[in-house]
Symmetry: C2
Subunit: 207 residues, 2 copies
Amino acid sequence: MGVIDRKEREKVEMKRQILDAARSLFLEQGFEKTSIRNIAEVIEYSAGTIYLYFKDKNEILFALHVESFSVLMQAMQAGIMGETDPFERLISLGKHYLKYAFENPELYDLMFVMTAPMETLECREEIWCDGERAFETLKFVVSDCMKAGYFKDAENETISVMVWSLVHGLATLHLRRRTMIFPETKRIKLLEDAYVQFIEILKTYKK
Amino acid sequence: MGVIDRKEREKVEMKRQILDAARSLFLEQGFEKTSIRNIAEVIEYSAGTIYLYFKDKNEILFALHVESFSVLMQAMQAGIMGETDPFERLISLGKHYLKYAFENPELYDLMFVMTAPMETLECREEIWCDGERAFETLKFVVSDCMKAGYFKDAENETISVMVWSLVHGLATLHLRRRTMIFPETKRIKLLEDAYVQFIEILKTYKK
DNA sequence: TGCTTTTCTGAACACCGTTCATTTTATTTG
DNA sequence: CAAATAAAATGAACGGTGTTCAGAAAAGCA
């Protein structure tokens, strides 16, 4: 029967509609202020229908989180491919990561700050594969840097966590409004400078 | 009239009761799951009464945020006073900051991650003084390090933002469950190693 | 066409933050 | 002390939330 195939397609299509509506509402008015009823209204279905396609609101967040990772991964890959020198690759990787965070604040939040998507994973007893893949990419680049003599003989994973923490820290301090203490016009510059400075210091730590 | 003095004391006392109840509920079951009605129940008043002492829920969060900063500032001061060498002070400052974050995850969240307290400030058109004071402390220590020849001739503020971002990144990646990708037994060690490694790299960046 | 299965709805539930008329309590005045 | 006034506390109500589920509507099959 081609019917069940079509039904399957329709189910996927409906999930798409829900996610598209959810994403657009989230980006427009934030997560907190977006309700299931809002999403239902946009796709012109009743609120109850949403629950035939997603277990709960967290599962919608989680699905968007997965989507967003594929975009970030592309950006990161672009960052790597644009350079040949290992250390330049690391610099570019970080820049692309930060660029993604600043250009997609709500999505970055979903991927690396909100606890809701992690709760979905935990109750499914699954692993955070998307995060792991992104981190593996970083480790890969760090590994090449080490082969080129950078980072003396530190542990790859230690260096990678350090780099990740730094860029994540820069991103979240800003996205969660803690750069309020700096003049508005200088905030971005200060964060960029801090990143450049960090890279500069890293560069000098060679064998 | 001694009456209005007493009334004033009673008002302060009531605010204390509310904040104590709120803090204990928050630490116990998180912010999201604590309602005004919950708080009211603990102090054995009706929910409406809370609003005679605090404008809204955000203002309660903000008050706790202020409280928490005074504890963090003490911890940071202790970190500085425990050492005499400028660079050792910086190391200790960071350690105490991280210790506070890991020992008081909910409060750290309130101080540096949640947007609610910042919104209270923004609609009051005030400055985030508490954050500023903490950052000034860091800048002070960095300044002493620079006088001792560290950080070549980088900008104090740039270095300070970098250090803050790194420790904040370490803290939030963990508190918001993004260290799930590492084996549970090694998470803390990895974060500590990353901090030590960062310090080690910083140390070598001298004039 | 009638029967079954799938899909969808919308009312209901138990919450939430917040407001406000009303009642209770405390203070001041005659 | 009693009456009048002022302050504090209540609890119902409002409009919202996520979520569930009996019953209605639509689709697929005989």
